[in-house]
């Protein structure tokens, strides 16, 4: 099989999960052929990629890659693909991955399919990709000699090659000669503003309590915040809430907000629009609190309480306090 090239994005010495998922798909479509991984500057992340199916790891060493420089990254990725004669170039379907792979395609004058969940190389290449935050799938034909794609986050499980019996062969790690000119460096990070300290990250919270249109006002979030406080949970909300100006967009769970993956998601006064569920799909269990027993959220929830959240949330908080003997 012709070679496959995979962009592996990293953070402080480790490949990110979505890149390992892309590498897993890359290995499958290479079907025993060479799998070239490209790492930008982060030498420490390169060594372990053999375990995930890379046969050769190329580390682009250039001062530009200590911070994001998407055109420079695309230049190097495209050059590597040309050099090895890649049949496919893959990357993670993250903001960073999508913008770099789109740039590779634009530079080469080739089509690009973002957020794929499956891919079969051929003439044409056929693929499945995610739309509406995963609420809809598209089956498509990609008419190009080189398939340029990203993988939808968490659609394909990252799978190590190392078995108990036979450890994975170590991948060779070689520096890649990054040839960059001024134009490739016009778009690059010039400064980093650190986030304000404190606050529970919505994306990483183990429990999230959200309110929707049914909360009715900014002040109406008090019982939501109270319950979240008792559970050590992050507070979230639906898009209806942020466009009404009741809460900041940083609290929004959804397709155009934060994608959450808590053990428990409590959704109060949220009808369960496609936009919202696209962000809540990662929750292990969902408890819906809603006046409308027929709301779409009920088909996504594991548990439900029917009624007015303004009466129910304080009752739950009171019951938790009672149970804790306070």
């Amino acid at each position: 099989m012709p070679p496959v090239v995979v962009l592996v994005t990293t953070a402080s010495g480790a490949a990110d999960e979505v890149s390992l998922q892309a590498l897993t798909l890359g290995r499958r479509i290479a079907a025993g052929g060479p799998v070239h991984a490209l790492v930008l500057a982060d030498e420490a992340a390169a060594a372990g990629l053999g375990d995930w199916g890379a046969t050769e790891v190329h580390v682009a060493r250039h001062a530009a890659f200590t911070r994001a420089a998407p055109d420079a990254a695309a230049r190097v990725l495209g050059d590597l693909a040309d050099q090895v004669g890649a049949a496919a170039v893959l990357g993670p379907g993250t903001e960073a991955g999508n913008t770099i792979l789109a740039r590779v395609a634009a530079r080469a004058g080739l089509p690009f399919a973002a957020n794929c969940t499956a891919l079969t190389l051929g003439a044409p290449t056929t693929l499945t990709r995610s739309r509406w935050g995963g609420s809809l799938l598209e089956e498509a034909a990609l008419h190009a000699d080189r398939a340029i794609v990203t993988t939808a986050p968490h659609a394909i499980a990252a799978e190590p090659v190392s078995g108990v019996a036979a450890p994975a062969p170590a991948a060779t790690v070689t520096p890649f000669d990054a040839r960059l000119d001024e134009a490739d460096l016009a778009v690059r990070v010039v400064d980093r503003v650190p986030a304000a300290a404190g606050g529970l990250s919505l994306a990483e919270a183990k429990v999230v309590v959200s309110g929707g249109r049914g909360v009715g006002s900014a002040e109406g979030f008090r019982p939501v915040e109270e319950l979240a406080g008792l559970l050590g949970a992050a507070v979230g909300c639906s898009r209806a809430v942020t466009i009404s100006g009741w809460r900041s967009h940083t609290d929004q769970v959804g397709q155009t907000g934060t994608k959450i993956a808590p053990n428990l998601y409590i959704a109060a006064g949220i009808s369960g629009a496609t936009q919202h569920l696209a962000g809540a799909r990662g929750a292990k269990k969902i408890l819906a609190i809603n006046k409308d027993a027929e709301a779409p959220i009920m088909a996504a929830a594991d548990y439900a309480v029917i009624g007015d959240l303004h009466a129910i949330l304080p009752a739950i908080s009171a019951e938790i306090r009672r149970a804790r003997g306070a």
Partner: protein, 254 residues
């Protein structure tokens, strides 16, 4: 300041998505349409720029005749004029979308000067292709940034911010430039009644570009068969609180 915003008219999907019998489109018999969420913020950003600095903000869309309604919505919010690239309703892949927009941009710039800034949504609400801004920027030879959560312009330089793990990355792009914004970069205003009235008389230029062969060719759409759940009803009203606490305990949350 001359700003262009590209928008897409997308179905206002609420609950479960239903498809047309041929499986090639969302059944919109019972749905309205709206400007994509990211593009709504791009419109707001453009209107704020010309409110502050003067100039004109042009809105463009590639879409069926019915997309005129979303162009009027953008005009009601304060955009100056509109360009409607009318399609027969078929989808256009991201490469052909770029080509159509590019032709419209080049024609407009030949007539009334270059756009200082071209704003798009980060990804379309429906097809989510993540690339039209990048392709436009490449074709025009202008610096391009995506996933924008902050934007300010001073002295011909756009200070652009992305939200990343641990903070915000800052880029400085020399204008003219292309930028794809994310929802949350601002809080879009609602159209006023006078705004709606003014929108009716603002100019809308139309043309009908030819749809080229699609290299990313959509074959069919599929609604994933997620295990439709039947929520276990713990009770009605505040009396359900003890049952809820029981569930919280069983899940190890308490």
């Amino acid at each position: 300041m001359k700003v262009l915003v590209g928008i897409k008219s997308v179905p206002a999907v609420a609950g479960r998505i239903a498809l047309t019998p041929d499986g090639r489109a969302i059944d919109t018999k019972h749905l309205g349409f709206a400007i994509g969420p990211h593009e709504e913020c791009a419109v707001e950003q453009a209107v704020r720029l010309i409110e502050a600095d003067g100039g004109e903000a042009v809105v463009v869309t590639l879409g069926p005749a019915s997309a005129l309604e979303q162009l009027r919505d953008a005009l009601a919010l304060g955009m100056t004029r509109a360009i409607h690239l009318v399609t027969d309703g078929q989808e256009w892949d991201p490469e052909s979308t770029t080509e159509a927009l590019l032709a419209a941009i080049e024609a407009d710039e030949a007539e009334s000067g270059a756009f200082d800034l071209i704003l798009l949504g980060n990804e379309a609400g429906d097809s989510a292709d993540y690339q039209v801004a990048v392709r436009l920027g490449r074709a025009l030879g202008r610096p391009t940034i995506t996933a924008l959560k902050g934007l300010s312009i001073a002295g011909g330089v756009a200070r652009c911010e992305q939200e990343v793990e641990g903070g915000r990355d800052v880029y400085e792009l020399t204008l003219p430039a292309v930028a794809a914004v994310l929802e949350g970069i601002n809080l879009p205003r609602f159209p006023s009644v006078p705004g709606r009235l003014r929108a009716k008389t603002k100019p809308v230029a139309t043309s009908e570009p030819a749809r080229p062969a699609q290299r990313l060719e959509m074959l069919r759409l599929v609604v994933p068969q997620g295990a439709a759940k039947q929520a276990q009803v713990l009770g009605h009203g505040p009396e359900a609180a003890p049952a809820v606490v029981g569930v919280l305990r069983s899940l190890g949350v308490l």
